[in-house]
Each structure stands twice: as C-alpha cells, then as structure tokens.
C-alpha cells in the first residue's frame, strides 16, 4: 500500500515522527484545529468529558488531547499552511498501530483525555479518510478504547466514508477556514467551500448519540484574508444557526509562509483573536446580537477594550443597572459580571438586599463592574464621575496592569 511504501522508504524513529507530526498539527491553519460520554463498559477509559486539562503548553494553551496529523504529506497547496505541497519540509506518516500505541499508553499514564486526529491529504481524499477510519476502528474495536476522539473530516471524501467515521468518533469537524468563498478560492485553491459545507450539513443531519455524540465544530482563520470582524462574526453566527455547531474556533494566523497573497504579518493577531472569542461568547450566552456589537460603520473591535465594555460605553444611557432589581440579561450586560455572578446575584437578592460589601463577599469582582452599577440606588463613586471619558480611561488603564483575569484559557486543544 501507498502509505506502507512511504514508511519503508523513509525509515524513521517513532520519536522523530511524533515530533514532526505534532509540530505540523500545532498550527491551527493546517487541517488540524480543533463534549459527552462514552461510558466505560469493558475496556479502557471513560469520557466524562468535563474539560479536564492534563497539561498546559508553553503558550498557555490547555492540552487535553493528543493532537497529531496522520501524515503531513499533502497534495494540496493552501497558502497559509505549513504542510502545503510547495513547502520543503520533512515529511512523515504514522501507521495506524503506531497511533494506537501512543494514544493508549498516553491515556493510561493520564497524559491525555483522548485523540485528536487529522491529516494532510495523501494520494486522494478517500484514501486519506480510509487511513483515519482504519486507525480509529483499531482503537475502538481491537483495543476497546472508550475515550474521547475528535477527527477531522477530509473535504472531498465520499459520503459513505463520512458516515463510517461519524459512528466511530466523539466529535467530528470540518473547517470552513475563511469566511468568504472568494478568499478561500484565493488562498486554498484546491479546496472549495461547497465541499466543506456539504460535510457540515451531513454531520448536522446525522448527529446523534451514535454519530459524533459531542457534536460538530469548525474553525475560522483570523488575519490571513482581509475580512472585517463584522463579516467574520456574521459568518459564525449564521453557521451556529445553520449547522447547530458546538463551537466556532478562531485562530490567529501565524505567519509560517511567505506568499504574496498573504498579509506580511510579523506577529499573529492574537488580540483580535481574543476579541472574537469574547464576542462569540456574548452571542452564545449573553443574548447579544452581532449588530449590537458591530456595524458597517464600526466593523472592527476596539483592541483596547473588550466588546462588552465597548458596548456599555457606547450605550451609557442604559446604565447604571441596579443590582437589586435588574433582570438577568441586564445584569449580564454589566462589564465584569458573568453568568455565575449574575445567577448568584439573582438567587441571593431574594433573601437580602445586596450592598457593595455583599457583592465583594459573594466573590463578585467590582473592579470593572463598579462603574456600571448601583446598589440600593447608591453609586459606588461620586455620581459626577459617571462619564464616558472617565470610565473609558480607567478601563483602559486597568487593562494595561496585568492581572490573572486577563488570560482567557484558549481551549483549542480540546472539544
């Protein structure tokens, strides 16, 4: 077989392979971006997938899955990808048994929750899918592995194979990568967006307890093409609706290649990626709409202030909110008050009138919230300070002083 021949020709230590194939999977722009339960009968593992992080990489990202490519050989030439055909890099390919051995041994030692398997396209899409299916079948049937498995569907592979793969994995994903088909055509000339949306539609239709039980996710690359945040967010919000996605991942483009079609970035747009995650969160859990946050006239997020504070500052007439009477969704609009805090406030105020002191005791951080709330009609600062300029400059200043809460856990490795 083709893969075996490659393995024979390029004889390589397992360690070196792992190095190459983990390295080529770590950039999300490479076919590799990234819960529910397989209960443990006989066999290895349970996936009470409560988001256990086993380690944190030097970049602070949570590691919960063994994230690798089956192979980094690829017949495609996506401009943004380190594994593209035209790059001169070391190539390797795992055998299915090798992947099983590493996964099982890592799992028993409690290094990982499971496997995240993707692949460059070797020979053709169907052949690549078959290799992935063979590997995961071995894990599930021969080795009785019940842990979490997330696989990437290969665009262009047949529906029959997609169906087979869906029944084996916990989560299945297909990456849309770029928000418009124009930029996809430009930067990923071998892919077409229809293939990807077809897969996404198929997964949505078939998703069940037996087919990708943890659902579906997709990824958008940020900063490789020139769409605004407004366009990106509209794209995700429509995909959430259309395909009932569990997550849309945003991945700051890391300049691994030089190409005249790519922006000449020196550093990845991490802040922008962070803003998109924050906004995505507001859309899914805080009842915000894309058009509350951005518009044609205001198409990109303020990099100095997070989207929620930005909204509050631009709608100061809605504030301050009274802690003892504001509705749940109104509380959620207050910068610094999240879902847990809002719920806690609603429950507690049934029993006593909440004061600023109580809020502190309840573990609610007032640093940012204090500008936007009253407790029993009292404002925390001198009422004359309730002014846009004053609040804005304070919020920006505070962002500059590092606190732990400035870090958002990037959970690209799991789910």
């Amino acid at each position: 077989m083709f893969a075996d021949i490659i393995n024979m020709v390029f004889k390589m230590e397992l360690k070196e392979k792992l190095q190459i194939l983990a390295d080529s999977a770590k950039y999300d722009a490479s076919c590799s971006s990234s819960g529910n339960s397989y209960t443990s009968k006989k066999g290895l593992g349970s996936t009470s997938y409560s988001g256990i992080c086993h380690s944190f990489a030097s970049d602070g990202r949570c590691i919960s899955l063994l994230k690798i490519l089956m192979t980094n050989c690829c017949i495609f030439d996506c401009k943004y990808c380190i594994n593209r055909r035209s790059n001169n890099i070391k190539r390797a390919i795992f055998t299915p048994e090798e992947i099983c051995a590493i996964t099982l041994n890592f799992y028993r030692r409690n290094y990982i929750e499971g496997l995240f398997l993707s692949s460059g396209i070797i020979k053709n899409p169907d052949y690549t899918m078959e290799l992935i299916i063979e590997t995961i079948s071995l894990l599930r049937y021969k080795y009785k592995f019940n842990g979490y498995i997330h696989a990437k569907a290969i665009p262009g592979a047949s529906v029959a194979l997609l169906n087979k793969l869906g029944k084996l994995v916990t989560r299945l994903s297909a990456n849309i990568e770029l928000p418009t088909s124009t930029s996809l055509k430009l930067l990923a000339p071998d892919k077409n967006s229809e293939q990807v949306t077809k897969i996404m539609g198929y997964i949505k239709e078939h998703q069940s307890k037996y087919f990708a039980p943890a659902g579906e996710s997709t990824q958008l690359i940020v900063g490789a093409s020139n769409e605004s945040d407004y366009v990106l967010l509209h794209k995700s919000s429509s995909m959430y609706e259309k395909y009932a996605l569990k997550r849309v991942f945003y991945s700051a483009y890391i300049p691994v290649n030089q190409d005249k079609l790519l922006p000449s970035l020196k550093i990845p747009p991490l802040k922008r990626e962070n803003r998109l995650y924050q906004a995505d969160w507001l859309l899914r859990y805080y009842n915000f709409k894309v058009d509350d946050l951005l518009s044609e006239e205001y198409p990109n997020f303020n990099l100095l202030i997070d989207p929620k504070a930005d909204y509050a500052l631009r709608h100061l007439e809605e504030f301050p909110k009274e802690i003892n009477t504001a509705s749940y969704y109104d509380l959620l609009k207050v910068p610094g008050i999240g879902v847990t805090s809002a719920k806690r406030i609603i429950k507690s105020r049934k029993y006593f009138k909440i004061t600023f002191n109580d809020l502190k005791k309840m573990g609610i951080v007032l640093k940012r919230a204090k500008y936007f709330i009253t407790c029993n009609s009292k404002y925390c600062l001198a009422p004359s300070l309730f002014k846009k300029d004053f609040i804005e400059s304070n919020l920006i200043l505070e962002n500059k002083t590092p606190t732990n809460s400035n870090f958002k856990q990037l959970s690209i490795f799991h789910e």
């Binding site: 397992l14 360690k15 792992l18 190095q19 983990a22 390295d23 770590k26 950039y27 443990s40 006989k42 066999g43 290895l44 593992g45 349970s46 009470s48 409560s50 256990i52 992080c53 086993h54 380690s55 944190f56 990489a57 030097s58 970049d59 602070g60 990202r61 949570c62 590691i63 919960s64 063994l66 994230k67 590493i102 041994n105 890592f106 028993r108 030692r109 409690n110 290094y111 890391i254 550093i267 990845p268 991490l270 806690r344 429950k347 507690s348 049934k350 029993y351 006593f352 109580d358 005791k361 309840m362 573990g363 590092p402 732990n404 870090f407 856990q409």
Partner: protein
C-alpha cells in the same frame, strides 16, 4: 476557660460531634482533632461520641449538596475548618437548603469558598496526576496536594482506569490509595516499601517530546501557563520536571 471539643480525625466523627453540640445547644470555642495541644486558656473536652452507623448515608440522602460542602471543607487544610463546619451546620438548621445563597453570613461564605477551592484542586489534579508504569503493569503516581483530596481523585480514576491496578500516593500526608480493579482502599504509607521496579521510559520520553513540540513560540505565554498550572505541582508532572529542576537552581 475556652472549651475546645476534640474528635478523632474522621469526617464521620466530626459530623457526629457537630450534630451533638448543636442538639445540646453547646457553643464550642473551638473543635480540634484529638492530637491537638491546648493553649494556656483552653480546656479540652473529649466526648468520644459513638457515631450512629448510617449517619453519613442518611445525611447525604437528606441534603446532598450540604453534605458535599461540609465534607469538602473537612478535606481542606484550613486552620479553622471545624468551626466553619459547625457554624455552617447551624445556619443549615436555620435556613435549610437555602443556606447556600446566604453569602452575606461570613461562616457560610467561608464554607462555600473553601469547598470550592477543594473541589477546584481535585479537578486540577485529575488532569495533573502522572502515572509511571511499574513491573506487572502496575501504575503508580505521586502527588502533594494542598488539600486532602485523595478520595475524590481515587473515585475518578476508578471510573477512568477500571481495568488497571493503580496506586496513588499522597507523599505529603503519607497515605496511599490502592486500586485492585474493583475498589480502592486508603492505607497509611509510612512504612510503605514498593518492591516493584519501573519499566521502560519510552512513553515518558515520547510524551515529553510531544509536550516540547506542541507549544507555539509565537504565542509563548509563561504567565498564563503558570496561572493554570501552578509551580507547586511541577515536581510531579513529568513533562515539567526539567523546568522544575532548572527553576530550583
């Protein structure tokens, strides 16, 4: 004289004592384990209450979330944990299950905070525990948690690795949890002698290779990593051992 009530150190005994004191309307100035040395102004009293046999299951059935909070506070290393449990229970009698919303009462607030901290640490360690393989396929892990969370993590690994033999060793408290493919047992590890050798380190090496490869240097963020994976755990996290050794130099 301040009256300090003593209990022999199990959750069952503590709970029995707390219930008894409350029933008798006794307000203790403190509650401490038996090995406690009293100060000059304290008088110790050991009531040696025989706990009723099914107190724990009964209490658990009646109020599972309250039970869990008190149990987790007991597992903590908070110096005042017994008194906090006593007053939390007192407020439970007054407000029933609604007590968990009464964060304006400091005893209640303290209990909730401590319980959260303990469950948080247990959750972290479910991820950070690292097994090495010994002879006869036995898995062995060491940990030094701040709180006494060995029971919580053992229950987790019973589900996660049901068909293995494993040992989890709390080297700080010197207790070891032994799992025999059916259930786990907690034993005193003071005189523990492990006669099993470690087997090959192939997969440990592979894991460290994976770990070193996966970080993206353009995104390097050590503060963020430290925040999620505090240094105090590094000693027992195999992929951090080199970093750990370096930072101790």
């Amino acid at each position: 004289m301040n009256r300090v009530y003593l209990y022999s150190d199990t959750f069952l005994n503590l709970l029995s004592l707390v219930i008894f004191l409350n029933a008798q309307n006794i307000t203790p100035s403190n509650i401490k384990p038996e090995n406690y040395t009293a100060t000059l102004f304290e008088e110790t009293i050991n009531l040696k209450i025989t706990p009723s046999k099914n107190l724990l299951p009964k209490f658990y059935q009646k109020a599972p979330s309250i039970f869990k909070i008190m149990y987790y506070v007991y597992l903590s290393s908070h110096p005042n944990k017994e008194l906090i449990i006593y007053y939390f229970y007192l407020n439970f009698l007054k407000y029933h299950n609604k007590v968990i919303n009464m964060r304006n009462i400091s005893w209640v607030n303290d209990a909730l905070k401590i319980a959260k901290y303990v469950s948080h640490e247990a959750h972290k360690l479910k991820g950070f525990i690292r097994f090495t393989e010994l002879e006869k396929h036995v898995l062995y892990a060491q940990m030094e948690p701040t709180n006494n969370i060995i029971t919580i993590v053992s229950a987790h690994f019973k589900k996660r690795l049901p068909n293995e033999y494993w040992l989890i060793h709390d080297t700080k408290r010197n207790i070891i949890s032994v799992y025999d493919q059916k259930d786990f047992y907690l034993l005193d590890a003071t005189n523990l002698q492990l006669n099993l050798k470690t087997t090959s380190h192939t997969y440990e090496d592979l894991w460290c290779t994976f770990y070193d490869t996966i970080g993206i240097k353009e995104r390097k963020n050590n503060r963020c990593r430290l925040n999620f994976m505090p240094k105090k755990y590094w000693k027992n996290i195999i992929e951090m051992r080199n970093n750990h050794a370096q930072s101790n130099k």
